[in-house]
Amino acid sequence: MMKKIRVLVAKPGLDGHDRGAKVVARALRDAGMEVIYTGLHQTADMIVNSAIQEDVDVIGLSLLSGAHMTLFTDVTNLLKEKGIDDILVVGGGIIPEEDIAPLREAGITGVFGPGTPLEGIVDFIKGNVKR
């Protein structure tokens, strides 16, 4: 049997908009993945530590406050610092078009804005998971 993909769905920073994170978490679970939801108000340290402890394959970040350029890249920078390169990082939220390319460059491989079909996120993770 194939190992199930393990995903950490995380809410960095102070943003309380959690509808998207919860809907995506359920969709990933329904697609057969194991999902851990961090809850709100996570720092980059907390997210990376949870990812290591839970031995996840994917980190999914959700942020609707506009602070994604700082808070998403804090997570990927910390992963790099710790020499972790086999966790796929994806993110979603209120993200203007012009921020998508720099986020991808910073290691947030999949960036999903409003209106993204859930299936698209599931397929992206299945197609890009690194281990």
């Binding site: 943003d15 309380g16 919860k22 939801y37 809850g39 406050s65 602070a67 209120i94 804005g113 409003p114």
Partner: protein
């Protein structure tokens, strides 16, 4: 109200019509879907008539506008006397930038102000707090002290215009900034008017910018009721909000039921303190969402007025003012699409129309670019113009409750009231709103509804124009608001200078006095005002309360 014999005849005729006309046609030409449902999954019949509201008693269930149970509106003249307040929720970056936006909006015909704060402010942190990283000015304006509040309202007549402030956990402190600013400008406290959101229950349920555990939060809320009643009589000390419950993914029925359940919970808490219901109830206000299903939204506002009036009477209210459900409306941010953003103008216009037909007292219309970023000047101007067109051109403001008496709307209003009552029973079985929050009841109900809705969008059962139907291949770009990149630096410098220039002994004394008061049972408002007048910052003042009350951590349910 209807003649029993006539109703019987009508029912016979309707059955006839179904058999001879309606069903044969649906066999020949099937309807567009097997069942028509609104956004609360209520099945909508092909036709409504008097037989759907057979027990409708006009004088008991409806009455005139300005009369119990206020189904038709809270004022006798409704918009013939005064139109709703056009109040655009706005704030970003520094106080100076937002001050310019307010002046721009007022210049273009806005009639009330509404402050959006950034996340650090919403959580009671100053801009220099480590958790504020990346969030400065992003989804609202940063207000760390009275100094910032002074700049935010520079050259704005706070004695004349009313201001709504979306602030919850640290509401007493931010309200104190506003009051202190008026004090310093020589404007009497009895003259300033506005609203603080101050609705912590819905923070635990939906918006999630809570700070303290429920017990101390309720105590602070009642402190503001008591202080407002005595000293700031034109201020709405709470805006009991369904907006965020809906944005978190609830149905319209859940929005209605959970919001009013919260409302009654606050009234009971204030009465438990010994306050007289008729002394404070007139200053409770509400805030609802205006979502896509046009008639369901209108029925929701109407039902809300009637449930509140009846409930308040039952709780012992005597003054008519105490039974009035006055509310602000904002169009549904969650319904906006990032795809083909201009079509949001049309969505917002319809949602705003529902709010006006539902009898709102004030209205915010979202801007077309808000699924992408905070609104640009042009986008917010168009949003305001939408309200002006409804007021000046559409004719809907000429008579009270124009849809009252529509069989469909009256049926839906009754039904939403019934479903709401069923939710009240379920909440009562938990032992009230707070135990239900602690058991995750509201959070689960909302998560279920939002996931079900999203699945229906995925399957194509629900259409979102531009997203799962009528898509365009190319991206439609629109200009995005750019903020002053040096704003954060200036804000940090201002904070540093403030702490160096003020009388720090006075600040310490005021903070210690607040600590003592919050450990006891005294009203905290006078002590908070002492702190802010001494230029203690938001973070320092809220920090004292954090130390005394502790912080709330929510169970992570999905």
């Amino acid at each position: 109200m209807y003649d029993k014999e006539k109703l019987k005849e009508l029912e016979r005729r309707k059955k006839d019509w179904e058999k001879k006309c309606y069903l044969p046609l649906t066999e020949k030409v099937p309807e567009r879907c097997p069942s028509f449902e609104n956004l609360s999954w209520t099945r909508i019949d092909p036709l409504f008539g008097p037989e759907n509201v057979p027990d409708f008693d006009y004088l008991k269930d409806s009455g005139m506008p300005g009369e119990f149970p206020y189904l038709r509106g809270v004022h006798p003249t409704m918009y013939r006397g005064k139109v709703w307040t056009m109040r655009q929720f706005a704030g970003f970056g520094t106080a100076e930038e937002t001050n310019l936006r307010y002046k721009y909006l007022l210049e273009h015909g806005e009639t009330g102000l509404s402050v959006a704060f950034d996340y650090p402010t919403l959580y009671g942190y100053d801009t220099d707090h480590p958790l504020a990283r990346g969030e400065f000015g992003k989804c609202g304006v940063a207000i760390s002290s009275l100094k910032d509040m002074e700049l935010l309202f520079r050259d704005i007549p706070v004695g004349k215009i009313t201001t709504s402030m979306t602030i919850n956990g640290p509401a007493p402190i931010v309200w104190a900034f506003y009051i202190a600013n008026a004090d310093n400008r020589g404007i009497p406290r009895t003259q300033i008017g506005g609203t603080i959101q101050n609705d912590v229950l819905k923070e635990y349920i939906a918006q999630k910018s809570f700070i303290f555990p429920p017990g101390p939060s309720m105590r602070l809320t009642v402190d503001t009721f008591e202080f407002g009643t005595r000293h700031v009589p034109r201020w709405n000390t709470i805006s009991i909000s369904g907006y965020h419950i809906r944005e978190a993914g609830s149905t319209a029925v859940q929005e209605l039921a959970f919001t009013l359940a919260d409302g009654f919970e606050y009234v009971k808490a204030a009465m438990a303190r010994g306050l007289n219901i008729d002394d404070f109830a007139g200053r409770l206000s509400f805030f609802f969402n205006a979502h896509n299903d046009f008639f369901e939204e209108i029925a929701k506002y109407r039902a809300a007025r009637r449930i509140w009036a009846r409930g308040m009477k039952e709780l012992g209210a005597k003054k008519p003012r105490s039974m009035l459900l006055r509310f602000h409306t904002q169009t549904a941010g969650v319904s906006l699409t990032a795809q083909q953003p201009e079509i949001n103008l049309v969505r917002v216009a319809l949602q705003a129309m529902a709010a006006v037909l539902g009898g709102t007292q004030s209205l915010h219309t979202n801007s077309m670019d808000e699924a992408l970023a905070l609104p640009s000047e042009k986008a917010v101007r168009l949003a305001l113009r939408t309200q002006q067109i409804i007021e000046e051109e559409s004719g809907v403001a000429s008579t009270a409750d124009p849809l009252g008496g529509s069989y469909y709307v009256e049926w839906l209003t009754d039904r939403m009231e019934e479903e709401s009552n069923r939710y009240f029973d379920r909440i009562a079985r938990f032992g009230g709103v707070i135990p239900a929050i602690e058991k995750g009841f509201f959070q689960r109900e909302i998560a279920e509804a939002s996931y079900k809705f999203q699945q229906e969008v995925e399957s194509g059962k629900r259409t979102i124009v531009g997203v799962n139907k009528y898509q365009l291949d190319e991206t439609v770009g629109i200009p995005i608001l750019k903020m002053d990149e040096k704003g954060e630096e200036r804000q940090l410098a201002r904070l540093k200078k403030l702490k160096a220039d003020r009388d720090n002994n006075k600040v310490q004394r005021a903070l210690e006095a607040l600590r003592k008061a919050s450990m006891g049972e005294e009203n905290t408002m006078p002590y908070i005002l002492e702190c802010v007048h001494a230029y203690a910052t938001l973070g320092e003042t809220c920090g004292v309360l954090r130390e005394v009350f502790g912080e709330y951590k929510e169970p992570a349910i999905f």
